[in-house]
Symmetry: C3
Subunit: 425 residues, 3 copies
Amino acid sequence: MNAFKQIPVVPARADDAIRALIANRRPGYSLDADFYLSPAVFDLDMEEIFGRHWIFVAVEPDIPEPGDYITVDVGRQPVVILRDDDDQLRAFHNVCRHRGSRLCSQAQGSVGNLVCPYHQWTYRLNGNLAYAEHMGEDFDKSQHSLKPVRIESLSGLIFICLDPDAPEDFQAFREQVEPYLRPHRIRDCKVAAQVDIVEDCNWKLTMENNRECYHCAANHPELTVSVFEFGFGYQPSPANARQLEHFAQISAQRCLEWEAAGLPSEERDALDDRVTGYRVRRLPLDLSGESQTLDGNAASRKLLGDLARPDLGGLSLWTQPNGWFHFMSDHIVAFSVLPLGPEKTLVRTRWLVHKDAEEHRDYDIDHLTAVWRATNAQDRTLVELSQQGVRSAAYQPGPYSPHTEALVEKFCNWYIGRLSARYLD
Amino acid sequence: MNAFKQIPVVPARADDAIRALIANRRPGYSLDADFYLSPAVFDLDMEEIFGRHWIFVAVEPDIPEPGDYITVDVGRQPVVILRDDDDQLRAFHNVCRHRGSRLCSQAQGSVGNLVCPYHQWTYRLNGNLAYAEHMGEDFDKSQHSLKPVRIESLSGLIFICLDPDAPEDFQAFREQVEPYLRPHRIRDCKVAAQVDIVEDCNWKLTMENNRECYHCAANHPELTVSVFEFGFGYQPSPANARQLEHFAQISAQRCLEWEAAGLPSEERDALDDRVTGYRVRRLPLDLSGESQTLDGNAASRKLLGDLARPDLGGLSLWTQPNGWFHFMSDHIVAFSVLPLGPEKTLVRTRWLVHKDAEEHRDYDIDHLTAVWRATNAQDRTLVELSQQGVRSAAYQPGPYSPHTEALVEKFCNWYIGRLSARYLD
Amino acid sequence: MNAFKQIPVVPARADDAIRALIANRRPGYSLDADFYLSPAVFDLDMEEIFGRHWIFVAVEPDIPEPGDYITVDVGRQPVVILRDDDDQLRAFHNVCRHRGSRLCSQAQGSVGNLVCPYHQWTYRLNGNLAYAEHMGEDFDKSQHSLKPVRIESLSGLIFICLDPDAPEDFQAFREQVEPYLRPHRIRDCKVAAQVDIVEDCNWKLTMENNRECYHCAANHPELTVSVFEFGFGYQPSPANARQLEHFAQISAQRCLEWEAAGLPSEERDALDDRVTGYRVRRLPLDLSGESQTLDGNAASRKLLGDLARPDLGGLSLWTQPNGWFHFMSDHIVAFSVLPLGPEKTLVRTRWLVHKDAEEHRDYDIDHLTAVWRATNAQDRTLVELSQQGVRSAAYQPGPYSPHTEALVEKFCNWYIGRLSARYLD
């Protein structure tokens, strides 16, 4: 009998094909379609990019108390992230060492120990197996601890790395970025809202979309109430010369004021020249200049940390490969991109406010989240249209704008660079 | 880490397996199961059959005015079909030349230019890029026109070919078939109704089902009110000899009458002996002999073109690989088959009436569409049962009836012939 | 054009990879993740395990009368099982010999002949083609009979084997097991209820779950009302020594009583040392000891066969690779596991009562089915958590309990043994 045999789709060796794809990338142009479609490239992305780099997955306010945990799936790797009894952050593969059952099945919760639902194997919060019935006299519990996952907190932003040999430049990243974040005191925030959307596209199209505002003017009416598209690149012309110059002057002036007030604001860009790539910059906002809201004013009356004035513009942080963040005086928006398949991606958005802010009194959830709920929905439509288009045989990599898509290019540089370091060197 | 690696399903070389499949086809028998199941064969079908032949996709009444467009996906190739400002039909790959976004996202519409929703790249209706912001001084718009798709209209039936080297025998096809179609004046019709159904089967099972009426008597009570199954082959026997002879006499007599009245009606069969295969024939209908309706009478009071009498039977046109059509005096039914996957197929049915016919006064949509809505639903059940059966290891190609399945055999001849020309010669 | 080509996921040869997987199995430990995830292993399972062994699929009360049939899909093989005019059980591939249509499309029914819905090819209940219109003078009906499937009834439990060279030890299996089953007279039962559930896991996780009660105490409150977990293995300890001894004594005593009353009850275990593996044993139940119900009492007032007293505990039968059964004095529960995909499995549960028992008077369906509906739902959650966990790169085979998971180990022994016999010898 031969019922389930199928003719294979392609005979060639995957490694050669992938090496050729990587080597053939044309700088200044969008990536070849296989990068957005191929299951083999997706597997590579999960192994090399999401399996070996620092991935943004959570914030400390998700797990404020000892015993609090959240679970996250990085590709097919279920992970549990928790705060142990000594207030230390820990991450483990969320898999029982007995027969492999998922250990914590809820999205989040609070526990004294981690008990497997299947046969009640019980682990302490440090991962040690404390109890396993029926396993006989010779069973060695010490050989069956949970497998740890590397974890770091950047002023309260939680990054994990599935590779025990995690990139060592996280410390440098921390030293350069924490001064920017510290005044917003993430650890003193609470998660006011979290929204997940699933986009029918490859995760890199989601990231590329995030790295330019070329599409903003025509697609994001709510966002562009407060955000100046000039801040993200613009082709100069006689018609816009005065506007551009004005924006540059104001930005420089505000930057000096903010820095003088102890708020690091100047651009630092390390998006494509290190393993743990990032970019950070504080930019003015329009109208009252306070927040990314429908009226430009702060959405929460309780300002973050010790911040005294609301008109601090927006401090933005972009991290490779999967995060971006906007820090305002009153609230923070944090985005985490998690691939679900070659053509399916989860975008998880968290809105943080001061932990002492009270809903209805200090902030309103609908108002707080309105701009980015709308913007995310618009971006979803755009990236899904892109995914549909790159499936066409007629698609060929097109040119990036030198004025408005430089950060998209840097994302591709970083991505191709990471794969090249692994496969071409 | 090794999380996403999987053991491959089959090691052998695809090309050899496919060559063997093609070479081993047994004439007079249904195809091997792999032709209906294999993703590799599906890819081949999309590349060689749907990628290199004239595919029926639309009718001119879909886009009567300049600026009107419709979109269609041929496999994973999104295409936009439009009427330009000079009233000329054009087709383009529906993919922006910038970052590959699908250009027109709606099923149909009317536009002055084609504007990409992502970054507003703007194309004229002739495909030329007219406008692209931020692309810098050195950007050459002339290098970024939309990619054209070959397009032809057969008296108003729109065929496209994705291959720039399209088969050259379309002209011969046109010369032989247009005299049959012309009296029904498709361009003076409107689309009264369009219905899409998705069948869980390979597209070839949909086509094979269309190419015989062996299954009609037991499955299509609505269709056989007006359609004589004798018209599609019958095994002679003493019991049916008189009926068969009677039908042959009437058919011949009506054919002479119609031809004398300027309506070409005689059978022309080129289903399996040319690249752009077709068959055309006008046959009598039962009862009043007017139309494929539940009572045999015309469904629209406004006859097509200059036709003066309603009892013109049914002129049927079959085209390889994906169309069939019934032209009556009062309305036309046009079927387009579009593969969606190895086991998923779209069947799009359009009903056309005279453009001046008014709903409720001259025709009723439910009445007009009743026969083929019922017949399509019945055929869907049958082809899905076939798909389920060919998945079985017990399936082996079975014999075609020499009397009733000759046109199924011709479909297979054409299909295998086209693949052989490419792979075995 | 190159639209549908994709980079292959893995280049290596499947056969070598599968041989290595089989050879590397570590006794006493759960299986490698590929056994639960790989499409190639799934195909192998369907071909070698479900394609060559005796599979439990139905019970005779499903088809009590001549002409009664049921259909079942074993993987992608549709099969029809029927009782012919001579009261003989028969099974055929449920595929017409003409163009391969599924013959019987309903789950069950009653017919005089098997008529293909497509072109009315008509087969007798013995599989012979009786009638096929339009096939011409030369057509040989005798060459187009339905393809038979091997079938056996074990006291009314119907097993089929898709391989004509079915394992010959069914006869030995019958001789050893039928004495246990006979008193419950399955053929004099009726199917009071049948419930299908689809589990998102590999079929082997479903089977492994069935082969231990280590998970019962914490997960099955309804089942453990009547079922002693001591009956399925327990690690001895000073704390439970008296309980274990007490249970052993009672079990031995009841076994003697039952055997004396003509009811074979002693354990027979041939789970991993023959091709058609099984285990059978009658065990006491708690409370009144009558049935696996929420109160321990018989659920049907009409006892099975000639059984005179209700407190006969539970006779359990386990069969490799896909069945298990509990026979009580008043009702029988029969489970059939049918793989649907690498990570999707159908569990079909039938509840049988005496054919003369009347609903509402003698039994209530909700009460009869309550324990196993609840237990199945709980097991479904557990096996799906297992499937999620084994997808993790962090999963590695874990140790089985020597006290409570010996039958899981025997299931793996049997499974690996069957593949080894085929691939490693």
